[in-house]
């Protein structure tokens, strides 16, 4: 049995406003799918506040909708729901690819995109595709009488392993993903020996708009090679708008290798992670560029 710490109360509000009200009162632990929180509470990595706030009953936090040229994905959207959504599969395919390589069906059914983002693991598998897609995080809080929301680019939202810019009284309500332009192609790769049930040793996402033998609006992002998922700007610069041949791809892969600073842990050494970054950038970039 984990130590329940200061946990005193449980609430499962149905309305966003009510949840925000409870959050404003302070010292709450938010639970969505629980797939991070439960193991973390067992290992002592997470300690409960005085209130366990279950946000799963809040309908406003669900749903995937196209609002103008932005796809709004509710924070409670499960990984399974991402996989099942035609909108995600067709227009945000790199996110569907990551969802397909995520844990197991049982975990995908419970795990939410909001939990994945707020847990802010450097290896969080939806984060790399969301960065490639220029996603933003929508946060809500109770201010005065009303609800106040703000939106931050995902890259800025993530500040370190398990750390974000979310303020204690804020709830993440959605991720907002601008619809990629026509011709946008993107691929996700996750390193592991299993199809999905693996913590990424490294992950990477590369996207861009294909124009002949060139890629424009290029995004290269990596997971598990830094305290947060990162964009590889040097590699992007070497790719953006240039004619891509084997030498150009090699140069970009080498640049990516040089700009990541991974750590060594029980899963892999820093050296190996850097090698993977180079080799798989080469492979995935060729795939994105030439199909």
């Amino acid at each position: 049995m984990p130590d329940a710490g200061a946990l005193e109360r449980y609430a499962a509000p149905r309305a966003l406003a009510e949840a925000l009200e409870l959050l404003r009162d302070g010292d709450a632990t938010i639970v969505a799918g629980g797939t991070d929180l439960m193991p973390q509470s067992h290992s002592g990595k997470a300690r409960f506040g005085s209130l366990l706030l279950n946000i799963r009953r809040i309908a406003e936090l669900g749903g995937i909708a196209l609002e103008g040229d932005t796809v709004r994905i509710g924070a409670l959207t499960s990984i399974s729901a991402l996989l099942a959504s035609p909108l995600v599969r067709e227009r945000l395919s790199i996110l569907a690819q990551a969802a397909d390589q995520f844990a197991s069906e049982q975990v995908r059914n419970a795990a939410t995109i909001g939990g994945n983002v707020c847990n802010a693991s450097p290896a969080g598998d939806t984060l790399v595709p969301l960065i490639v897609l220029d996603a933003a995080v929508e946060l809500a809080a109770k201010a005065g009488g009303g609800i106040e929301t703000r939106t931050l680019p995902l890259q800025d939202f993530l500040t370190g392993p398990g750390r974000t810019q979310r303020r204690p009284h804020e709830l993440m309500t959605a991720v907002r993903v601008p619809l990629p332009p026509a011709g946008f192609v993107a691929r996700f790769y996750k390193h592991g020996t299993r199809p999905a049930l693996d913590i990424s040793t490294i992950s990477l996402g590369i996207g861009g708009v294909r124009r002949g033998d060139r890629l424009e609006r290029v995004r290269v992002a990596f997971g598990a090679v830094a305290p947060t998922p990162i964009r590889a700007r040097a590699a992007e610069a070497l790719i953006e708008g240039r004619a891509l041949d084997a030498a150009a791809i090699e140069a970009a892969a080498e640049a990516a290798h040089d700009e990541v600073r991974p750590i060594s842990d029980v899963r892999a050494s820093d050296w190996y992670r850097q090698e993977l970054v180079r080799n798989m950038t080469r492979r995935v970039l060729a795939h994105v560029a030439f199909g």
Binding site: T193, R194, P195, L197, T201, V266, A268, Y272, L276
Partner: protein, 769 residues
Amino acid sequence: MTVIERATLIGKRVPKMDAPEKASGKTRYIHDIDVSGQLWGKILRSARVHARIRRIDTSRAKALPGVHVVLTAADVPDQRPIGVNKDHPALKGDKVRCVRDEIAAVAADTEAIAQAALALIEVEYEDLPVIADPEAALAPGAPVINEKHADNVAMRFDYAHGDVAQGEAESDVVVEDSFKLHYVTHCCMGVSGVIAEFDASGNLLLHSNTQVPFLHKREFAEILGIDPGRIRIVQPPIGGGFGSKLDIYPFEIIAVYLARAARRPVKLVYTREEEFLASPTRQPVILRLRSGCRKDGSLTFRSVETLHDNGAYTSWGATTPFVMMQTFSSLYRVPHCKYHTTVAYTNNPYAGSFRGYGNLQATFAVESHMDKLAEAVGMDPLAFRLRNAQDPGEVTGQGMTFKSCGFKDCLRSAAERSGFLARHAEYRAAQGAGGRVKRGIGIASMLHVGGGACGTILKLDDFAHVTLMTGASEIGQGSETVLAQLVCEELGLPLSAVTVVNNDTDITPWDVGVHASRTTFIAGNSAIGAARKAKAKILAAAAKKTGVPEGELDLVGGFVVRAASGEAIVELAKLLRGLHFSDKAELVMTTHYYEPPSVHQDKGFKGDVSAAYAWATQVVEVEVDLDTGIVKMTKVTGAHDVGRVINRLGIEGQIEGGVVMGQGYALTENLVIEDGRVKNPSFRDYKLVTAPEIPEMDLAFIETMDGEGPQGAKGVGEAPAICIAAATANAICNATGVRIYELPFTPEKVYRALKGVAPKVAWRTRAAA
């Protein structure tokens, strides 16, 4: 005339008798059993790897409401050490030698309270230098881990046959390499657990998943200083064994101590993390092998040195060198062999017995060298192996007599069905070609022994229902079903007529336990013996009743019939009822004790240790990704000399399970231990193979009909895991031209080897000869 058709169950696909119960979630494992009045036990383990305990203060834990008992070594002055070397006290008093060491235990009303109490126990340590590898343990002046073994040697011996110097002189080619084998652990899906309770007279009832209940009964009696007759062990269905339940472990004794002190039943169940930290492992080994052959491909000698990491205490892991010896001396024809082994104490987790028992390690080295030697003399791997494989009737240098031996058939069958030769040549030729994913194929064989003895009691009731009481526990492997099949075959009854009782020492006959692939062979012979006696008794009675001579009668389909025509004479149930209710009431109840005709080894370890020897050849196909080092196992073709197939469904399942366990050993499983600490005690980072990763499997059975086996069968339980790692090493080499000497073939290790930056397996000092 009613003719009863003879139907045999032997060789059929017979579903396991307990499958419906298990598939509906009704089976009650140890975790699912609660006894009234029970308390929960929890163990406090050392926070240090090697340290003196300066002080333990349990007063705050004792004061916690709901806590009944808190024990430390000081509270059980009558402790006796356990284990193969009797070097292991259940509760450690003055010193901890390993991070899993038990230093205190709590019995409380609930698991949560027991857990909370552990946190209140204060321990003061004084750190001692940590010995984290066996070479350091043997260095002169190394700190002593176990006071009774000042040289840190748990075991050391030499074996030889022939004269390796002569063998080496006759060799045209000699190769020498060091190999390194890693830690893996059983990962039974059901974690360890036990319930201990004493009755009012002080008799102990233990609900335990031990695979050796009768040996444990004796041990517990010694530990408690009571008569063994006062101990009863009941074995609930087990959530996986694989050798892990062959030894007695501190948690079981601690549960007994807690129950004794609390005068209440105590249930103690591990968490998964505890299971990783505190269960035994497969024994890690550093191994140096030198082997030679002539130009014609005949092996000349093998010279082996091994250094084993025993961990801090001695369990069965320390005896794996004996099983390894059999492979070194007798897998292929080896005219001259020398083998030196040292088992050293360290502050690491200790090694126990694990399916295959040393043979995975030995076979990995031997079969790697078979490929290297073949290559050196320009023979293909198959021809080279066939050149050296034994034939039936051969006696090895160690004195094993291969009465039945399907070795060459295994080699030929596996090679043929996998298209080994053509593929091997094709992949080899493609090594230098383009492409980032390379394919490879590798072959390896194994030899394994079985042993032990077993008793059976058989009883028929007046509805011709059979109760088979056997000492052989069911550990998920399906022995229950196989034994029932064998008895049905003798008595001409359907499987539904048999109940197997195998889980209560107050009922079942003495037995040495489930290990060494012995259940089918030994317990099978014992069951057949009892059934034959019952049959003789029945036929004698039938003869008396019907006037037909015994010799002309048989039992078929629930009837006594005329053997020649199958004509039904009397229903068996009716005959039995007649017997029971006659004036001189007679019950059909028989016993049989079977001990195989193996010869005990002499001082030089020579002798025919097993009544039958099992053989297998496996061909493994892989894809190696040069960019990541990921090795994908795509296909395994196996040919197994199993003597005879009794239950095809069961034996396939055993082999498939073993193949995948071997796959895990070769590719993914790795218990990472640094400075005595387990770094990955969870399934998140200790990677078992999952359903999408399994290879295609093509299995063939070579039925050599072993004369001594029940219906001709031999043991098979351990065989399938044994050669997978070896064949995988050979396949990776075939794919890439790179040979790897260290397991497991995890992506990073393979990638480093491919890049030529893998550290060479180094053995700094030669183990003292």
